[in-house]
Symmetry: C3
Subunit: 298 residues, 3 copies
Amino acid sequence: MSWEDRLVMPNGTKGEYQLAGNTRYYKLIAQPAKHQIVDDVNIEGLGFNGMIPGPLLVFRQGEMVQIEVENRLDKPTAMHVHGLSKPVSQDGVPEIEPTPSIKPGQSYVYQFKAWQAGTFFYHASDPAQIAQGLSGPFVVLPKEDSPENQFMPYRDYVLFLQQWEIPQDKLGEITPGTFKPKKFDINPNFFTINGKSLPDTEPLRTKYGEKIRIRFINKSSGSHSMHVHGHDFQVVHVNGFPRYNWYDDTINVASGQRMDIEFMSMNPGIFPINGAKTFHQTNNGKTPGGMITKLMYT
Amino acid sequence: MSWEDRLVMPNGTKGEYQLAGNTRYYKLIAQPAKHQIVDDVNIEGLGFNGMIPGPLLVFRQGEMVQIEVENRLDKPTAMHVHGLSKPVSQDGVPEIEPTPSIKPGQSYVYQFKAWQAGTFFYHASDPAQIAQGLSGPFVVLPKEDSPENQFMPYRDYVLFLQQWEIPQDKLGEITPGTFKPKKFDINPNFFTINGKSLPDTEPLRTKYGEKIRIRFINKSSGSHSMHVHGHDFQVVHVNGFPRYNWYDDTINVASGQRMDIEFMSMNPGIFPINGAKTFHQTNNGKTPGGMITKLMYT
Amino acid sequence: MSWEDRLVMPNGTKGEYQLAGNTRYYKLIAQPAKHQIVDDVNIEGLGFNGMIPGPLLVFRQGEMVQIEVENRLDKPTAMHVHGLSKPVSQDGVPEIEPTPSIKPGQSYVYQFKAWQAGTFFYHASDPAQIAQGLSGPFVVLPKEDSPENQFMPYRDYVLFLQQWEIPQDKLGEITPGTFKPKKFDINPNFFTINGKSLPDTEPLRTKYGEKIRIRFINKSSGSHSMHVHGHDFQVVHVNGFPRYNWYDDTINVASGQRMDIEFMSMNPGIFPINGAKTFHQTNNGKTPGGMITKLMYT
């Protein structure tokens, strides 16, 4: 099984692509999207291809990235891939850079080289659109002939961390319904992994003896302190750059950061993988809930 | 003097234990507890053995841990030791794991190996109980025959960091009384070290020429940026794992993290050891106060 | 051009000093100060020499620091230089240490050795005065004969990060006027680099082929996750201590911390340098704005 096949976004999906020579092409449509965070709580946010977060885009190191962004919003947008340095015209922050603003109804094709293997993410340039959901994971796998492939993990999970400020009546209870998230996650009350809160997070499955990689990606207004129960781990990459001899059990993933960890599945059971902040382990103050998924041995 | 005798929790106390062969047994009773944070401000929270935070539990690496938890609350509880990987049945998060929920009036004895030397903490599995105080420090000292003992610090201080959201009338003033902390520390206004805020924090005493270790433990919904005045330090362990050549003066202790620092006492005086966030240096906005203790030469 | 000449604080200014032998003397006057954060939004805060943040103080490693602080406030004050360990009498936290409190109308001359090269900052000891603006950058450059001078950056920028809670009518709009910042930055709505928010931040200028250093300094109640577009970088110092082989694109600068990064200018254009937290990229929720400056090739 190739590394690309091993790469999984639980609760999420990989984008469909077209490969032409060395160029991999994806299409992302920015549009309003309704999304269920947890049973009874839905949001009317903004998504790429109708998904919150957007689909997982995967590339091989050395490929040419081609992403067409179509704007079906009522305001201009643009797309920035965070990390993975690229020419300014393709960097996607038109408020500051000489790079196109995509008007409603229009499209633009971003093109740049996936020169660096690592974990990245894409998002709208306008922070107000990001806070409504316009962001998603972006992973560059090592070249086919890279020595890194010898150490390929058996399973490679992408966990995209977000937080939301959703109108609710009372802390400790859930008011069911469909809500427009507040403009920014200043006082967040819902905390998601790949768009879902416990108990709706899909477990990360493993078997005894497998090497597991988890890629944490944080694009929110807060930091998330991620903890794996029952398994110490190594931090192997931060923001696409390798780290060595960094053993840990709880890591601080600050806004904009991506941390890749690896461990051996040697302790059978069902264990939480969670943000350590106490309030983040709730759905609007109701427990159990929040930024928690499970490592589940099969 | 043994390392265990050198290990101190200012304003706190070590738990009493029974040693039977290689097994060290502690008893923790989860119960409502009244606690004074600072003069005039008391909380009606939840404590282990009536203390907020709970007593310091100490083990030697290689010992078998035995902790009996008795539930005198009106709701189920369970106890998780954060870090120190262990079998899932003893991991203590019944909301997710196949591990017992302890009903009111019942007890459970957790048992696992203290295989890893380092700084850890224990807490209730329900985040709402944690935010009311159900947590405490847990330290595993190196084996008697470990080479680490040659570098034993002269004093070894445990500082448990917490924050509280306590009903108060007005920012900048203290409304005296006894209060039930709000359910979560979302908008915290009191910041404690071992349960106390300045001026009620007990100083860390030292003499010229001593090597001092401080173990910072953070179980809260925020991160704490800890600074020692007058003394640069080395970070020697993070989350129970050694770190090397890490010199520093201000470290970010994220939620769930534990950082051990060491320095030589070479600069006589009385110096603050404090969280660097400005508001955290107050008691509900009143100064001086907050997450500040003192290093005091004698 | 000397390293000192290459050191620049955009939107800010270097303090004027007198050199007598090996002693460098600066004068700082603590006084009320009116300051423009961004067009239409002014604050009535507290500044050193009328500036928010205060002027950049520069020293050469090995020099004797002499800073006279004159108090023209209506309350006592004192000045602490964060980091750079010094005798307790000169450490400037009279609430805790045996060091002078400077009464209104009085002055005090702090004196200590700049033994350590690195990035530091100075601030009032009272956190309520800090949150009103009483702080500024403090840099010690390596000795003239240090081998570090061989690796002198071509340009060396100091970016002082702050956040403010300013009374405003409605999130997403700017209410023009002159405001007294709230006592603490608990729910901040303006985010500044050297006292200015986008679009009023002065770009960092560079040419192709230059080595650029940026010194991020954070004295606020939050952490700031700093990202440079289009340029991966190395973290070369944290809190005045060297770091090696630390490649990155997004770093968490916690409260009280200083991180120095370096990169080569090899990707011409105009790129954002910004805090990654989405809300921090706004002025009271209005975009574009916030803790964003530009790297601009000329």
